[in-house]
């Protein structure tokens, strides 16, 4: 699922079918907050978002995927369909579908989601509320022996 995002980001400048009335404007599916960018204020979006810089304020990003990269530092409450954290987040995270914390993640805040993956090594301080159903029920999977990732799925 997440591997699909690779092409969207790495080929962000690739020419895609242009808007019919505006050939220079390319349809991008992902916005990128680069590593030197710092923003303080309100941010909302209706497309996938990758944060490698600093965001402080509020992020309203429902129904799309949000990734906080390794260099990303977010001081804000986050609402998104899928939230993937590799960097630092101070604030509550609401993942409509799933929240993933990589081993490099450092999260201080409460998490509300239907499913969560927390990798061994991830730093987390807060509470987890999984009292909501996933939008799309995941297929049952079994983790291979030796896999360090821990997956918890809600009973409901």
């Amino acid at each position: 699922m997440f591997n699909k995002k690779k092409d969207e980001y790495s080929e962000y400048e690739k020419s895609e079918p242009a808007v019919s009335t505006d050939p220079d404007v390319r349809r991008r599916k992902t916005s990128v907050i680069g590593p030197t960018l710092k923003f303080k204020g309100e941010l909302s979006a209706n497309e996938d978002l990758i944060i490698e810089g600093e965001i402080e304020g509020t992020i309203a990003h429902q129904d799309k995927n949000l990734t906080v990269g390794k260099e990303g530092r977010v001081k804000a409450d986050i609402n998104a369909r899928t939230v993937e954290v590799y960097g630092k987040v101070e604030g509550d995270i609401h993942g409509e579908d799933i929240v993933k914390l990589a081993k490099s993640a450092d999260v201080k805040g409460n998490i509300r989601c239907a499913r969560i993956v927390m990798e061994d090594g991830a730093r987390f301080s807060g509470s987890i509320d999984m009292g909501q159903k996933a939008k799309s029920a995941p297929k049952p999977t079994s983790l291979p022996v030796g896999d360090s990732a821990k997956q918890v799925e809600s009973a409901g």
Partner: protein, 104 residues
């Protein structure tokens, strides 16, 4: 392993530098997409492309280029080494720059 069973070590995107025509490696630009709405203060030390809506102050800390696409709605102040404004852009405010390019 199923993709959603674990988190990859690195975010699934490419390296953070790219080569331009002269082979010079540059930081990837930030892209504020069409559906993005931002209100506040922004500083950036790399190229920035704005396609969405921004209300506030944009300050470029280096010689990089801020490109304002024609889909953008920009209110406030833009200060950067180079500001490139496309024809048809909805821009209200002040642009402070050593180089201002008006592009068709």
């Amino acid at each position: 392993m199923a993709a959603h069973d674990s988190v990859p070590d690195e975010p699934s995107h490419d390296t953070e530098v790219r080569g331009d025509e002269q082979g010079v490696r540059r930081a990837l630009p930030s892209i504020i997409g069409i559906t993005v709405v931002m209100k506040g203060e922004l500083t950036v030390g790399e190229d920035l492309v704005i396609e969405g809506t921004f209300d506030g102050t944009i300050t470029g800390t280096g010689p990089d280029t801020v490109t304002v696409r024609r889909t953008a709605h920009l209110s406030g102040e833009v200060s950067a080494g180079t500001v490139r404004v496309e024809d048809g852009t909805n821009l209200e405010g002040t642009v402070i720059s050593g180089r201002i390019k008006l592009a068709e």
